[in-house]
Subunit: 422 residues, 2 copies
Amino acid sequence: MPLEKLAAAFFLQMAIILTACRVAGLVGRRLGQPQVVCEMIAGVCLGPSLLGWLAPGLQAQLFPPDSLRVLYVGAQLGVGLYMFLVGAEFRVDLFRGRLRGAASVSIAGMLAPFLLGALLTPWLMKIPGLFSPRATQWEATLFLGAAIAITAFPMLARIIHERGLSGTPLGTLALAAGAIDDAAAWCVLAVVLASFGKGAHLAYQAIGGGVAYALFLLLVGRRLLVPLGQAVERAGRLTQTHLAILLTLFALGAWAMDAVGIHAVFGGFLLGASLPRGLLTRELQRLVEPFAVVFLLPMFFTFSGLRTRLDTVDSLQMFLVALVVLAASVLGKGVACWAAARLNGEDSATSLAVGTLMNARGLMELIILNIGLQNGFIESGLFSVMVVMAIVTTLMASPVFEWVYGRRARLEGRLGSAGSTD
Amino acid sequence: MPLEKLAAAFFLQMAIILTACRVAGLVGRRLGQPQVVCEMIAGVCLGPSLLGWLAPGLQAQLFPPDSLRVLYVGAQLGVGLYMFLVGAEFRVDLFRGRLRGAASVSIAGMLAPFLLGALLTPWLMKIPGLFSPRATQWEATLFLGAAIAITAFPMLARIIHERGLSGTPLGTLALAAGAIDDAAAWCVLAVVLASFGKGAHLAYQAIGGGVAYALFLLLVGRRLLVPLGQAVERAGRLTQTHLAILLTLFALGAWAMDAVGIHAVFGGFLLGASLPRGLLTRELQRLVEPFAVVFLLPMFFTFSGLRTRLDTVDSLQMFLVALVVLAASVLGKGVACWAAARLNGEDSATSLAVGTLMNARGLMELIILNIGLQNGFIESGLFSVMVVMAIVTTLMASPVFEWVYGRRARLEGRLGSAGSTD
């Protein structure tokens, strides 16, 4: 494909992707759903599961193979920047307030998923088209556990912030537990990625590289970044030079983690988490988030949707797999976190709300799944089944939250209105 | 190249490109140069003219052929968005104030370049490696004329705004004349692109498509966009939905102009110029410009630099071509505009300053040259010679302006400090 055709194909794709995401968002908002889950669904609809099934010729014309490489890089840039921003919002001080409660909920939200992972993988690994034949039982358990344990942490943070729950027991508990679980799940995923399908040499390189990067940021990087934060405070704003420095460091971190064999998102997230808090992180959010979320992230949803083949769920067995994975996910995260909160003395409504919020997986799940598929660790069948699980558990969150907590709390004047995420 | 390697190559490239652009900017600022010309030079340095000449192996490793396609699309997105923002800043009301003066200067700044183009092309077309053998004398004249006539309009606007010259005779005159000349040069370029190397059928499609797009925006689109502007005013900010609508329209316009055979930048510029002025355009600028200018535009400078081969200027003849093109450019734009302003009764310092500002070509020249090369209209030799011309005339602007106008005006308290563009 000549270069100018490639650019034309890209612009047309973007017009269609952005339109699909916004139309889905408009419909979803009427049903009380957040934008992110609507974009997940829009992505699946643009892929072989709907558009490619209804109009394969049109779909192939819109997404010629050559253009997918550009879409892939755009998608990586989008999730990389997004995780960079998530890292910049990540607040360790949340843990302090309600440490005991958060610890119980987060431990329950880790133990149960890995337990269920261990129970299910012996069965799942026998079914072709789910895990790579080269995956070990141990790796499959860790991957499935991490995929069940992940929480839509950024979405959680936004819901809690928007509804004015930031200071409440529910808000603090859910945020802290979600943060701990997500951090743990990403660590486990990094270990799986580092070990899977590599010789000992490459596995050491990946684990060593990841640990070295994290330690460097924690011990040295954080301090080196302090002057940058001070320069931003002095200037009273984030200048183009500051932004360029931050984006250069982001690109370096993303490259380093890609190069050692983990994934660009780790580079972005850890760097974001190391940034000095204050004007720098607020301005970074303000300047980068709009374009990253509105323009770049939809590329990721689409690329992920192009890989989702709902037609792989075409046998009774695969249907059973889908149901079992969904049930295990709700049980291992939603129910486990509810039980832990209840045992920890929270009232029934708060516990149910915590369970519901922790059960939503959103974009984070898609990132994990795409990394797994990209590395050949899981195959198209399990990928598609788990995309459905991610969509269903995210779709559940808003109405169930409203039902178990929102209406009553609003009547008592304890809750902001269920405004849109926009 | 497998996908994950492609993403890793992209992140590494970006880290190096952003670093090169910022280091060049830091050095340049000390010498009183604006960021844009530093990035033009940084791009050339990353290409075969410096890095590829010093360390061809390293250069080839940093920019593997596969990754160039991604860089190209990113570059198109960058200039497309940039021209979209330039269009959104474009103010027709500038013309009213000093219509007569602006008309003389802008007519001089158009006539002289096309006259010089007509004089030079018979000679230039005989030299191999400059124009495509398929280009007619008429097309070559129009292209060379447009390339000499173009002004760094966005840079001009920024310099004038930053130095507090917006209300002065100099500011109004230069801005209005620059805007008229740029608009005219782009129209001429569109005609050249539409006619060059195409059958009558494709030429009609390009001209018809371009005219239809411009007329549609002028007659219908502007009105259709009014409610969007009102919605932004009501909301008091540009929401994600508003931003998504704007970026979708941008992508559609860029695609349409690419598809009919003109170029994506026209789609972006004309759409930007049609947007309702007010909170919408201010917020669009605020939300999109930082990322577009800091992250995406450097891809364009690099892609352009990768195409610039200063080693084509390796004969006495090519050296002569370079000198003549440079002299014709300064004569056709700087001297012609100075003379027009002087004849129109402006004082000597103001006239010299107008000539100097109009003579800087900056990014706009690079866009025109890349379009010409991409379409096979000009060849590597002329491209490289004219990149040098663009850099030299832009480099000249700041010191000459300071010399002929700045020092005196500052002594009289009529001028802001020569602050950096950042």
